[in-house]
Symmetry: C2
Subunit: 166 residues, 2 copies
């Protein structure tokens, strides 16, 4: 709309993604925008928080892992994981058994139902990934992945000096 008014939105986004903070803004924007879509879908379709699906993914893919291990794949506070695992167990998607090697730890295993449900969710996630990255060709995707992995491997991603979390 109109003349003297709100900054043109595309321009505003462009300008932000050209500012000093462009790297941070750009990658955050992509993930925020995707979450907006994905979180709503998971919550409506499966009546569970997104992190429940992340946890289920981890448990089906790496059966026997502990809650603690999930945190390394999906960096979230400890109690968040604890709760979503309890939810998955209530729904019969997962079973926890006290580890025989460590009485504190619980070994997490998916049930047949859990595996089935994850299969369905993974298929959707693949579709969504395809949409999200449709702007990139295969070569670009490969490069993008390589760079993300490099960032992920960085020492200070999870433990910051600047923000006193080292």
């Amino acid at each position: 709309m109109e003349t003297g008014t709100p900054l043109d939105r595309q321009r505003m986004l462009d300008q932000t993604l050209s500012s000093d903070l462009r790297y941070l803004m750009a990658v955050s924007y992509v993930v925020l925008a995707n979450n907006q879509v994905t979180n709503r879908y998971i919550e409506r379709r499966y009546d569970m928080p997104v992190h429940a699906w992340s946890a289920l993914y981890a448990i089906v893919t790496y059966p026997g892992l502990r809650a603690k291990d999930i945190q390394h794949l999906f960096p979230r506070p400890q109690n968040t994981i604890s709760r979503v695992v309890a939810l998955l167990e209530r729904r019969g998607l997962v079973r926890q058994t006290v580890s025989d090697q460590d009485g504190r730890a619980k070994s997490l295993m998916p049930t047949a139902e859990g595996k089935k449900l994850l299969g369905e969710m993974k298929a959707k996630a693949l579709e969504r990934q395809e949409e999200m990255f449709s702007a990139l060709d295969d070569g670009e995707r490969r490069i993008f992945l390589k760079l993300c992995r490099k960032i992920a491997a960085g020492e200070r991603l999870c433990h910051s000096e600047a923000m006193g979390d080292s």
Copy 2:
């Protein structure tokens, strides 16, 4: 999975970032890990949710914009924006005045305090950005940014077919 020890963590992450969902997993991991650090910092240091700082950033950078416009920079539900703007106003960091062109809309302006605080926060964010991307050299950062912008420009990032939000 081997007998005994929990799956090696680095291996688990590597394997996940090589799976079908590698693109989605990789970029999500990077942002989740960063949020873990950044959100905590903003909340402890400034006693406000992260999205309050996002909103303040938008208002200082694009004075006069409306709450609605903030959503385009930082995709969050409408009421989240509404609340953090109210918080910023209570703290004297922002003033809202009814737009003279549209009686429904409110034009948002930073106060001197707001600008000062944002300056401080931006400096920290820059430091953090530097840490986060320290694994990439200048050329790689440029490429990464270009690819993020390409993804951001994609039609279906914000409006999904697969997840019925089109």
